[in-house]
Symmetry: C2
Subunit: 275 residues, 2 copies
């Protein structure tokens, strides 16, 4: 067993999937869950994801590992609260989509904190959509800094590998910059795109609109948090995106076929490198 007792704070899609995978792969003797939502805890128990659950954060006090799996701003708030009740040797990690704010606030506060970001979200949410295989073959970015405890880092890395993820490390600042482009910008674009189209046209749409806007159905609260916790990077990424849109518009307005062909060919070639 990698851990004796693991506590998961936030038994939603990610937290619930971690819990299910921990049980399936027998990585902890006991898995407990904390959630503000009683129904979520009841369902998590029913699904066999957790051994017991509570709305009271105090149940985590003898855990060996605490995984914070709530939205970004709640992660910081919960961490501040639980830092006072943890066992001194307890390891804490999170699953937040942005890392600079979280890591800079929690590293001085919690000796064994390790910032993590499993890239395996979905537009779906809640324990009802959780499944043990969510992390299989996905990427998990760990963001250690100078003061990160090395033993904690090694154990957390082992945990994610055991959950099926490919683990890489990156500094929090670079993480937030990269993610502003590969994840936050696509979400921003998808929100803007669906809001550009009259719903009366929806019935004439094919797969192109469905695919490009799938993630626009993502949880608003979660994304509000992500947008505000990575504000500057996202604003910069959006600006670059606006320039690319302008370039297409200009080529079209000026009837510059050669230029537009060059832009479309570049897009096609870039997209092929993504597969």
């Amino acid at each position: 067993m990698l851990f004796n007792k693991i506590a998961i704070v936030g038994t939603g899609l990610i937290g619930g999937s971690i819990a299910l995978a921990l049980k399936e792969k027998q990585l902890a003797r006991i898995v407990i869950g904390v959630s503000r939502h009683k129904e979520s805890l009841i369902l998590a128990r029913k699904l066999g994801a957790i051994d017991s659950g509570s709305q009271d954060i105090n149940i985590i006090k003898d855990a060996d590992l605490v995984i914070l799996a709530t939205p970004v701003t709640t992660i910081i708030k919960s961490a501040c609260r639980i830092s006072k009740i943890l066992k001194p040797e307890c390891i804490i990690c999170d699953v937040g989509s942005t890392k600079e704010q979280i890591v800079s606030k929690l590293t001085p506060l919690i000796p064994h904190f390790v910032g993590c970001h499993p890239l395996s979200g979905s537009e779906k949410k809640g324990i009802k959509n959780a499944f043990a295989g969510l992390f299989k073959n996905s990427l998990c970015i760990l963001t250690p800094v100078k003061n990160t405890d090395n033993k904690a880092l090694t154990k957390v890395k082992k945990l994610w590998v055991n959950l099926g993820a490919k683990v890489i490390t990156m500094n929090p600042k670079f993480h937030d910059q990269v993610l502003s482009f590969v994840s936050h910008l696509p979400h921003l674009v998808s929100f803007a795109l669906i809001n550009s189209i009259s719903p009366s046209y929806f019935r004439f749409s094919a797969s192109s609109l469905k695919d490009t806007t799938r993630i626009a159905a993502s949880d608003s609260g979660l994304w509000l948090d992500i947008f505000f916790s990575n504000r500057d990077n996202i604003l910069r990424a959006a600006q670059i995106f606006e320039q690319r849109v302008s370039a297409i518009k200009e080529a079209l307005a000026k009837k510059d076929k050669k230029l537009l062909r060059r832009i479309l060919t570049k897009a096609k070639n870039n997209r092929k490198r993504l597969d």
Copy 2:
């Protein structure tokens, strides 16, 4: 049999899939193919999509139905050429993604012309990706005008229903306006999005970027044609989209959480109506 001899001009993804479906459902006694690309004809024959093929357009002269399945500008050029060699009672239809230009040019030229647009493209191209089920449960928009021959319209409608499509009719002008939003804008956005991101970041991407940019791998020539044949509508749609991007940027820049939450919630609710 719905038709005796059907000629398909352009044996690519759409033309090839039509041919395969015609054969599978035995909707024509003979299916012939015309293509500029010899290999495409050879593969179409091998797959049983066509009975014979030629690079010479003259083989269509005794066909009862000609389906123009080439990119938009080529449709107009081919139609002008074949209008001189068709049997007088021959029906012609096309599968072009924009309709106003095509219908206004071809209706006076060809007595039995019917504009069609099956919404079942893909970022993949060529006969090698064709399959008989491509039109199953998809939408096919027919765009008859005042001078469209009614008997031809009825037969073409029957054809698409037999291919598995749900057929609706719309005037060409409205078609191009609707499609500029539900199809052409998502493509424009997808091209711009992938071109905004440094390929060195691609390895850190998850499904959100992949889904939103899947269609950026679409054929450049085909989309160049579509963009230029629906230029004004696309420029207008892009402008509205830019306003939606600006609105998100502004809410973020001004730290207006309430406004941003409203925008994201609207996007989420709109997207849910699309399913």
